[in-house]
């Protein structure tokens, strides 16, 4: 082989590279161009910093920000309620408040809206003593600083997702297989199982669940004030036994409620709460195997309530819009009910 031929073949092989970008663009596994006919498990997975950033750079109308609970929320469901709006799911599994905060900041800097999910342990600042969490925060922070979009189509992550998408289609997998598998989880656990698994009694070394400490008030207030009337905060439900443990250990309930109060009294956005003992949270079959995450079918009830869809039958005691007028009485009522259930 002579040098010239070697160079020609080299360029021929390397020309696969732009083809990869074109393939990624047209297969569109993350539903960036169009969410119809896409695998729901991929639409709801935000655990990739650069893809998450790409979604934000693409300037959708609404972003679903939060933790792994949002992996049970189909952005198409929200698009159905918010007609002609583009919605992306940008959750991070096991997210911290600081991570969600920087995502929300970028969304608001772009003058877009969010639906921000709150969760007790998302707010636990002590989790930053875990090196993995600190380093993940830095990874997301660095990714969010990148403003261009096109290069993501030429990345390992994207081609991996494209190849998986093609493989699933060849194997004739159902688009909602992820939600079906989640909805079919058989939940059988006791409060002892939960306590053993999560161990929030503050005796364990599990950094996610120990030394519960809220973020600085200033951060919560900044987020609250940044939000506009079109933004929404949602306190997602858990299986009620977690609420008993939150009441019992580390003053979690009290601290968490302080954070919620701070948010509600400082924001123009709507704050919806599904926290507390109600007919949904009392039923273990509505949750996964530790009661930590609601099942995808519950997300339909949550958003039917938020968007006032009366065609869906929602228990009356499930979900309340919090205002600075009802917040104190509502939280007191929740505490009372939890204590009486505990006893």
């Amino acid at each position: 082989m002579n040098y010239k031929k070697w160079i020609q073949i080299w360029f021929l092989i390397v020309s696969i590279f732009p083809i990869i970008g074109i393939l990624n663009y047209f297969i569109d596994p993350y539903g960036l161009k169009d969410k119809e006919n896409k695998f729901i498990g991929v639409l709801t997975d935000g655990n990739n910093p650069s893809i998450l950033n790409l979604k934000i750079n693409l300037d959708a109308d609404y972003y679903l920000i939060g933790s792994s609970r949002l992996m049970r929320v189909n952005p198409l469901l929200i698009e159905h309620y918010l007609e002609n709006k583009n919605v992306f799911n940008v959750n991070i599994s096991g997210a911290t408040f600081k991570e969600n905060f920087i995502i929300a900041n970028k969304v608001k800097a772009n003058n877009k809206n969010f639906i921000f999910g709150l969760d007790a342990f998302t707010l636990n600042q002590s989790r930053y003593s875990s090196g993995a969490i600190s380093s993940r925060y830095n990874t997301y922070k660095n990714a969010l600083n990148v403003n261009s979009t096109y290069q993501e189509y030429l990345s390992y992550n994207y081609i991996a997702a494209t190849l998986k998408d093609i493989k699933k289609r060849i194997l004739n997998k159902q688009l909602d297989e992820y939600f079906l598998s989640q909805d079919n989880i058989i939940s059988s656990y006791t409060i002892d199982d939960i306590e053993k698994k999560l161990d929030i009694s503050n005796k364990s070394t599990h950094k996610h669940f120990t030394n519960f400490k809220l973020p600085d008030d200033k951060m919560i207030i900044k987020l609250a004030k940044e939000a506009t009337k079109d933004d929404i905060f949602i306190i997602y439900p858990k299986y009620y036994q977690h609420y008993i443990l939150f009441n019992q250990y580390q003053n979690i309930e009290k601290k968490y409620f302080q954070g919620i109060q701070l948010l509600v009294t400082n924001t123009k956005a709507k704050v919806w709460s599904f926290y507390g003992i109600n007919s949904i949270t009392e039923d273990p079959t509505n949750f996964d195997d530790t009661g930590w995450h609601f099942k995808p079918r519950i997300s339909k009830l949550i958003f039917a309530k938020v968007f006032n869809n009366t065609s869906i039958n929602i228990p009356d005691d499930f979900g309340i819009l919090l205002t600075d007028k009802n917040i104190n009485s509502h939280l007191q009522k929740i505490t009372k009910k939890i204590i009486s259930k505990k006893n």
Partner: protein
Amino acid sequence: MLFNSYEFIFAFLPITFFIYFYLNHKRLTEASKAFLVFSSLFFYSWWNIAYLPIILTSMLFNYVVGTSLNKEQEEGHHRFSKKSLLAFGIVSNIALLAYFKYMDFFIENINLVSGSTIDLLQLALPLAISFFTFQQIAYLVDSYRGETAEYDFLNYSLFVTFFPQLIAGPIVHHSEMMPQFAKTRNKVKNYRNIAMGLFIFSIGLFKKVVIADTFATWATNGFDIAPTLNLFAAWATSLSYTFQLYFDFSGYTDMAIGIALLFNIKLPINFNSPYKATNIQDFWRRWHITLSRFLKDYIYIPLGGNRKGEFRTYTNLMATFILGGIWHGAGWTFMFWGFLHGAALVIHRAWSKLGFKLWTWLAWLITFNFINIAWVFFRAKEWDDALKVLGGMFSLNDIVLSEKIGMKLPFLTDYSVHFGQVTEHLGDGSDVLNLLLIAFILVLFFKNTNQKLTTFHPNYILLIQSSITFILAALALNKVSDFLYYNF
């Protein structure tokens, strides 16, 4: 503009290449050279155009001084004025470097010693200033010695700004560059050089964006984020940096050599499997070779080298390496790193004089570990960071083994062993350990890129290897990361 960016690889480089050879094809050789200088300055200004006047002024100043020194040589003027002119040139260059690079360090220490509160200047370090300053000091010294020819300003500008080596070397010598720029044969596309250039560039890009950037995450987590490090996490941290630095800088150099080859210019090699070194002197013959060459020719030998007795040889070695440390950055940790290497060279020289010999494997082990430990000071932003990593590396009070081992050998808890994530704070334990193992294999048992280049023949194996390497690296270009030596 970074070598590892889309804009460089897919826009700047091909456009510059085609226009340069088009102009040469039309026999507009001076225009092609001018275009290359313009492209290089554009490349340089991409980061911050504010730096452009600095490099232009420095270039013009050194050209004028160098030419004057050269003329004085020819005209046989009085030696004193020549010496003064050289001193003026060197001092001016060092003053420029000192102002931008060392002024804050100097003020910090004045404040510390005297208790004063002088404000820091907080100047941004102009890109590549350490490199182009050294390169031009060498030019002045050689002009003084009468070792330079009469170069025109365009050639001189190309020597200083030629974009493949402008930002982080290799530190080139005018005597190896000027004849290449002048050679007529180099103005015609050369398929052999293009093939070799693409080959070495692809390997360099892979080394940087796939290997070095992966180690970078773990090194950053260990040095900058982790509050404490257990025994294995500390070793993984230091080794991650040791490999990050090598793959980053040698990757950059490979890319620079590859790009220059596209333009028919051969840059000097900078690395020759440094981690295979079996003593510290051997290491410095293999690591950042062009810097070692500069330090030897322009500091060590002028100080007297080994010609003035053993004691002076030792002090000259120490002085050269402490200066080498400071060249890398304004900080006591850099100076200490230079001191450690200087001391190691002194010990090695004394040891060799006594005629002692070690088994090769033991010599390698000692050398590699010394280098690895010394890099801790080079990397650490503060003394405390260095002490944190070294504390972890040499403390037996915090040993963490995997839970799998814990299930088999639970009695180890009696000996203060904990079970959990071995590389806590760094990243996934198995990933870290696997890549460290692969890196050891690569640096110890494989030919380096320079060796591969000397035996390069256009065949299918190298074709597949090179093109796949390029594609894999290009797929990781979405993560922007600087080269470590851009900071020096």
